[in-house]
Symmetry: C2
Subunit: 258 residues, 2 copies
Amino acid sequence: MTTSEPTLSPADVRALCRSGQLVGQTAGMARGHVQANLMMVPREHAFDFLLFCQRNPKPCPLVEVLEAGVVEPRCAPGADLRTDLPGYRVYEYGKLVAEVADIRDYWREDMVSFLLGCSFSFEQALMAGGIALRHVSQGRNVAMYKTTIPCAEAGVFRSNMVVSMRPIKSADVAAAVSISGRYPGVHGAPVHIGHPEAIGIADLGKPDFGDPVDLLDDELPVFWACGVTPQYAAELSEIAFCICHAPGKMLVTDFTID
Amino acid sequence: MTTSEPTLSPADVRALCRSGQLVGQTAGMARGHVQANLMMVPREHAFDFLLFCQRNPKPCPLVEVLEAGVVEPRCAPGADLRTDLPGYRVYEYGKLVAEVADIRDYWREDMVSFLLGCSFSFEQALMAGGIALRHVSQGRNVAMYKTTIPCAEAGVFRSNMVVSMRPIKSADVAAAVSISGRYPGVHGAPVHIGHPEAIGIADLGKPDFGDPVDLLDDELPVFWACGVTPQYAAELSEIAFCICHAPGKMLVTDFTID
């Protein structure tokens, strides 16, 4: 994908985070580059968490996994995962205990970092394919819901799938499936189309995460597996300690979308 | 894929292994079903090994990973991985210490089992596509070679890639690439075609594993990533203990090739 306007490079975005100048969302930044969800867990839980991702590739598409104590990923040479995202959330025993812009004070050498594909990537492909995305045009976060779709369990990690919902014109649904299906590394094709109650969503107006969005008469609600799932699984597991990115505040990698 | 002759079911094959009646290779058995390489490592090395597979999907395509101590895989309900393969190899500190038909005497509750895709599956697809495979028609094991192609390292595991070589008529090479490329879960498209010396193979007549095979004037040597790679990496790592299947003696799963 290309863009006609000048844009910050991924390294530029990361440097702005590191210096504390960028603390907001990364949506639309360094267009054409893969953005990634971050999850850090202690080494004792790393095998179980990697297995959870391997068994649930649609909600948990792995971009990269780092050895314990390593903070410079291959997908972002020169980066430091402790400072180069705009914001982080710190959990203890499943409870949010801090939201910070820098985690050097929380860092432990036994932490293992997981980077997971983020839907910002396939949204660019959908828009390039002429499919309007209302939450983007309205500058809102996408609507996300807990469902009754079970994930495969792995050790201490078990949860149902979290999905994101985008209203798509009926005439565009097939194209939206085809286009997103070309990106298995960022959730791929939808997991459900059209009947929220069939996957345990009682009220589209009340998302569990993100912002609600209007659904018009000529549109269907289309549901994709969501990268919040692994965070939700970590929360439910009530492991003693973990750190993840704050919503919408992703790692911008050097990888290009293709 | 279908076959016109009656064939043992995967459960039949596993039962014959368990009772000690089948101790030979599984090539061609329970046709149409996925066969898998087995690797068992102690829990302390399981994260590193899973990471090695995740970083090197062509030689190490994961079919399934089991939690520590679990011996019944989802891909073979009712099976016991300690008895249901025809043969096993036991390694200590990188040295082969036993080759046995049953590993119950060696089993430890901290062992984690990895099942990896095996080329028997795409060979069936190649043959169904009209591509002759000389080692199959000659009843030999495929020729395998250590190369200079580096794998991505993960923790204690590092090695170069092991490849299998099949002589393919020049006119069929493109078809062989297309057909095998449809099976990313069992090594996918070739990693190299035509120049063995470019990947560090000095003499095609002297494979590092398996049997040599003739290369005719109208053929090219075609190289695929090989499932022996993870065993080779485990051997090189000199970890204190690991168990794998004996060459050609696979787990026959209930999964179908498609």
